[in-house]
């Protein structure tokens, strides 16, 4: 009945002969293999796992990971998504003890499994990339989209569980975006006005996620910077199931103009002002911090400004003098965590947030339940600094 052919060794692992963790991992791979009509499993070189922040996986997630970590060990390089707080600054953050304790249990479980403690949602920026065409398994929707579209890697839009299953087995079903034929876009989006900044690219991505399924082709945005590609990838991954974009045309073409952008903006821009500024989602990399340091040099934020970045990027930026300039301007730099479902923004204290992230805006609106004022970084610095 099943089109997915497992080797005899994989069958044994599925039956539990190689331990409980591998049995669970193969059960997951079998289900997603069936869902995506895979005929076989193929080796992958790198897994990036989401489901690290306690706010995203809850108590059942903690228990699941602890059980899995009894005998589960990574089989390939495995990096992990941000957690709920910056562990170096945890004492100065107002967090309840239960959250901290449960977050620490999650980190310990991943540690036992042997992951790299990356706590980043931009693994493609922090780590060296394997050669183009390499199969990886990336959960974290912005990372999967960026990996397929910009980095030339191959991954399906994995779930936290499926990427973890790939990590423990070193395998993934050969299906969908891993197959050349499937990577060809079936919807084209023609951008008919000049996009100015990262918010515009985010609006485009969010729009595209709603109309495209697997792979989408953009025309009119040929010279895409890394910064805008991050914003686009993150927004694309938020609104739908599409996990890849290319440049050019495809069969069916949909126009994206100012009216389409305005409609998306109306959905996410829910406040005209904000109490706090957040930068990040995805986290800022070294280049983002370099740009920010230049922009705020000699200025001062009038409001609290949380800047979420990858720790590896923070350390490099520190050596280069960027963090000093940002901190002098009043920017509060936080590593190992990010905007999405952060426990640091609570509606009991904050009514609304200013951000340049479309992905962040979606989660702040829908999960943190605070108002969101969307502004480009340029406008944030111009209007919120003195």
């Amino acid at each position: 009945m099943s089109p997915l052919q497992l080797t005899s060794d994989e069958e044994k692992a599925l039956k539990g002969e190689h331990g409980d963790a591998l049995a669970t991992a193969y059960r997951i791979l079998l289900a997603i293999g069936e869902a995506t009509e895979a005929k076989k499993l193929v080796p992958i070189k790198w897994a990036h796992v989401s489901g690290v922040n306690y706010n995203t996986i809850g108590d059942s997630g903690v228990e699941f990971l602890e059980k899995l970590s009894k005998d589960g060990r990574v089989a390939v390089k495995t990096t992990i998504n941000p957690m709920g707080f910056d562990p170096v600054k945890v004492n100065s953050l107002k967090l309840n003890k239960e959250f901290i304790a449960k977050q620490n249990r999650i980190v310990s479980a991943y540690d036992r499994m042997g992951v790299t403690r990356s706590f980043t949602c931009i693994p493609y920026e922090v780590f060296d990339l394997p050669s183009k065409g390499t199969d990886v398994s990336f959960a974290e929707s912005n990372a999967a989209t960026y990996a397929n579209s910009v980095a030339g890697l191959r991954t399906n839009k994995e779930s936290g569980l499926s990427a973890l299953a790939s990590s423990l087995t070193g395998k993934a079903p050969y299906s969908e975006l891993r197959i050349e034929e499937f990577r060809k876009p079936n919807v084209g989006i023609k951008v008919n006005y000049e996009l100015d900044n990262e918010v515009d690219y985010g609006l485009l991505g969010y729009f595209a996620g709603k109309v495209a399924n697997n792979s989408v082709a953009f025309s009119g945005i040929e010279n895409l910077s890394k910064r805008n590609a991050k914003s686009l990838s993150a927004a694309l991954g938020t609104s739908g199931s599409c996990g890849m974009f290319t440049h050019g045309n495809a069969g069916e073409t949909i126009e994206f103009g100012k009216e389409e952008a305005r409609k998306i903006r109306d959905e996410l821009h829910t406040s005209e002002k904000g109490d706090v500024i957040t930068l990040g989602s995805p986290q800022l990399g070294v280049d983002d911090l370099s740009l920010l340091a230049d922009m705020v040099h000699g200025k001062k934020f009038r409001k609290r400004c949380l800047i979420f970045c990858a720790r590896a990027a923070y350390e490099s930026a520190k050596n280069l003098g960027y963090t000093e300039r940002i901190e002098k301007a009043g920017g509060e730099m936080l590593c190992d965590c990010c905007t999405c479902l952060t426990p640091l923004i609570d509606r009991s204290e904050v009514d609304s947030v200013i951000t340049n992230s479309i992905k962040g805006a979606y989660y702040l609106n829908n999960s943190n339940k605070v108002g969101v004022c969307l502004k480009s970084l340029k406008d944030i610095v111009r209007e919120e600094c003195e």
């Binding site: 489901g51 809850g58 108590d59 959960a139 839009k157 936290g160 999960s367």
Partner: protein
């Protein structure tokens, strides 16, 4: 065999579908044509749809046979499905138009029977109707 499964027989409607996660269960149907982001749209303690823009807003997915196209957005949605099971408010079974990786992996560890690719229009099923999902042979009966 085919004839036996299709259309009305003994007053019951049967729809063939594809098995993704094996199992067997029944419950009231809860049907939507809109995709679901399990992380943001569902209250994981109660199973109630909390997204006011979703057509299932204020409806409860607990113990239902949930019929929807596919999951969208967060990769952590798979953990959300597992969390629903932990809170005893998961659907009894899930019917997708095209099962996706998030739903399939969540159902796999939460032991929720999952089928997809129904051979006829499942959106014609009225919410509230008693539905049986046989995710061993791939059959929806009502």
């Amino acid at each position: 065999m085919l004839e036996e499964f299709e259309g009305h027989s003994e007053g019951r409607m049967r729809i063939k579908c594809r098995v993704i996660v094996k199992g067997n269960d029944e419950g009231e149907a809860l049907v939507t044509k809109q995709p679901i982001n399990f992380l943001t749209m569902i209250d994981l303690k109660s199973g109630i749809v909390k997204d006011e823009k979703h057509e299932l807003y204020k409806k409860n997915i607990a113990n239902k046979v949930l019929v929807f196209p596919n999951a969208i957005g967060s990769s952590v949605g798979a953990y959300s499905i597992y969390a629903l099971k932990g809170s005893h408010v998961a659907p009894k079974a899930i019917v997708c138009i095209k099962a996706d990786i998030t739903t399939a992996s969540g159902c796999a560890i939460a032991n929720i029977p999952l089928v997809d690719s129904p051979e006829s229009d499942v959106f014609a099923i009225k919410s509230g109707l008693k539905v049986k999902v046989d995710a061993l042979i791939g059959l929806i009966e009502m």
